[in-house]
Symmetry: C2
Amino acid sequence: MTDEQPRTGLQRTSEAAFERLEAVTTAADADAFVHVGDRFDDDLWYLTRFAGPDRDYAFVFVDGRAFLCAPRLFAEQADREFPGEVVAASDATSSTAADRALDVLAERRPPSEVRVLVPPSIPASAARTIEDAVDDVRFEDVDLGRARKSVAERERHAVVQTAAQQGLARAEAVLASATVEGDELRWRGEALTTERLRREVNATLASEGVRDAGNTVIGAGSSCADLHFTGRDRIAPDETVLLDLSPRGSQGYYADLTRTFVVGDVDDWTSRAYEAVATAQDAALDALRDGAGVRASRVHEAAVETLASYGFEAGDVAVGMSHGTGHGVGVSLHEPPSLSSDRVLEDGAVVTVEPGVYDPERGGVRLEDLVVVTADGYENLTAYPREIHPVDGRTR
Amino acid sequence: MTDEQPRTGLQRTSEAAFERLEAVTTAADADAFVHVGDRFDDDLWYLTRFAGPDRDYAFVFVDGRAFLCAPRLFAEQADREFPGEVVAASDATSSTAADRALDVLAERRPPSEVRVLVPPSIPASAARTIEDAVDDVRFEDVDLGRARKSVAERERHAVVQTAAQQGLARAEAVLASATVEGDELRWRGEALTTERLRREVNATLASEGVRDAGNTVIGAGSSCADLHFTGRDRIAPDETVLLDLSPRGSQGYYADLTRTFVVGDVDDWTSRAYEAVATAQDAALDALRDGAGVRASRVHEAAVETLASYGFEAGDVAVGMSHGTGHGVGVSLHEPPSLSSDRVLEDGAVVTVEPGVYDPERGGVRLEDLVVVTADGYENLTAYPREIHPVDGRTR
């Protein structure tokens, strides 16, 4: 398997975003849209597909044309990756990315006469530069259409989710071959820690061509209740081991996959929690059975109601489900639509379905799949068993 | 080897930054410093050590105290990681990180009466929120002292650089065991591509507990001249293979390491380029022999002069050295001091020394070490041979 993809599909997705920008600017009676950011800005990545270095870039949409202002050293790469027109400026100049964006505007009409839409997330310094030159700047979040994934984007998510499954399979193999010695698990002659397990997972992800992105959360026992645990706990028998993998593919799309295991005996609380969470996940998925048009919060409520029937609370609680049932995933790991929101889910929404229950004294159980909502149902991008005892030999 | 480190050393580094903030705010007759950003903001990482999720956070320094405004779901993690005081706010509120920062200020004195320093890099929306509430906001880059690495930080760089060397050793092993069939290299029965080599490197980095961070640049032949090549070229015999690894450790510090290899015959141009670059690197390092106090540009000039003696130009050129000789490295991959700048290098500056020459028609050679400038010399954090023919069995 590779993370390879004809780039034209994703470039077409960006071109569709340009079309939205055309409609949005026209509706707002604006002449241009300007965005400034760096390689960590996901909107800018979505618009440009430019995986350049850690510098500021600018994106300009004006007169129906899309421009990327990039450093000259990386102009060839920008030409290759960006489906619009590249304006390269020498690194030797002291001009900022915002200055270069203004140059692009100025070549077309006097900046004092244009009305420009700008995302409020751009750096304050870039905003100041634009405001100083342009009379009419409107700071406004613009919907680029990221919540409706194109076919090319769905394929990216599927490929990266498959890689995540390989990472999880590696973790299961390690857990299954660990031995119990007293109150600890040992593997290859040493205590098995969450960090050792993380390295095994991350090496597998890298072999599959995806990045762990610092998101390989592994909890053991009480640290399962810590939603973003990336520490180094020793793993004990008979306790929950929670793995939440969110690698990022080379094209920027994330996977999201969680399973929970126990090596050894499963106590009553954990057994009930696992059954509650699995049933809640089924109920949440069932709420998606008619596809686009369902209100996002319906999915969350389905999970919450199921957990309640097992005696687990949800909300701002220490014991129970302390988070929502899911969130949108794309070129950001967390993006709209949240399943706690009132939004109506659209065809092409890629969301997690991840109920969980936690007790800081005992541990935690979470099960997470990644699904794409379709016109008349949903497609689960995840094909991974839900079994509490780890097994060696899961393969794709 | 592990990437483990008693956190107190780095937390003390952050506390030293708080002391600088005390001095800077006092000198500016300001009452507070406010920063807003997310996990990708390196200043915020440096100040907080908080590896939270992809949300906006705020950092407030006021009355000699440092506050982190973090989402309640991650408050325990913030308490563990941040060496100041954590103010947790429920995710259910609609308040932004900037609002929370204002709350922290308001508990101490009326916002209309404070003078606040704010980095110009914060999001424009956060800047607007602060400006609406605070009469006297000054947007100003504040020197947090990042260019002078503490002992704990130098240790982090050394550990991550050692992991990078393991990644490079893996690449050499693969190249050394590849076989020549006609005009292509083959490895394990398939054509060897830059992408296959990248996966081997990245899996090794992950096993060492560091992230490739999307920075594993591998060029082959003409793509060596492409400074940020992350594509999938087939690797041919007798052409340059350039590997530039910049992984990031779990504590946020980067390594930076480049070597260039040829499998097969080395042509005259490549042989001359390799010798020129190696000699230029020696000359640049020699310019650092007296340690802190040297002007950064002296190091670059030493490399440029040496390359010129081999007939290679530098500057805005297509053939020759098209980039500077080095840059600062820390919790950002590229940060001050640039070796092209007029800055005087300080004790504790961690910089790359990486001359290179390229010819888009032929290939490219770059050799890069990571060094720390000390009071009376420099310490090379790199211990990796410079040999053009790959060897299997490099070990740390």
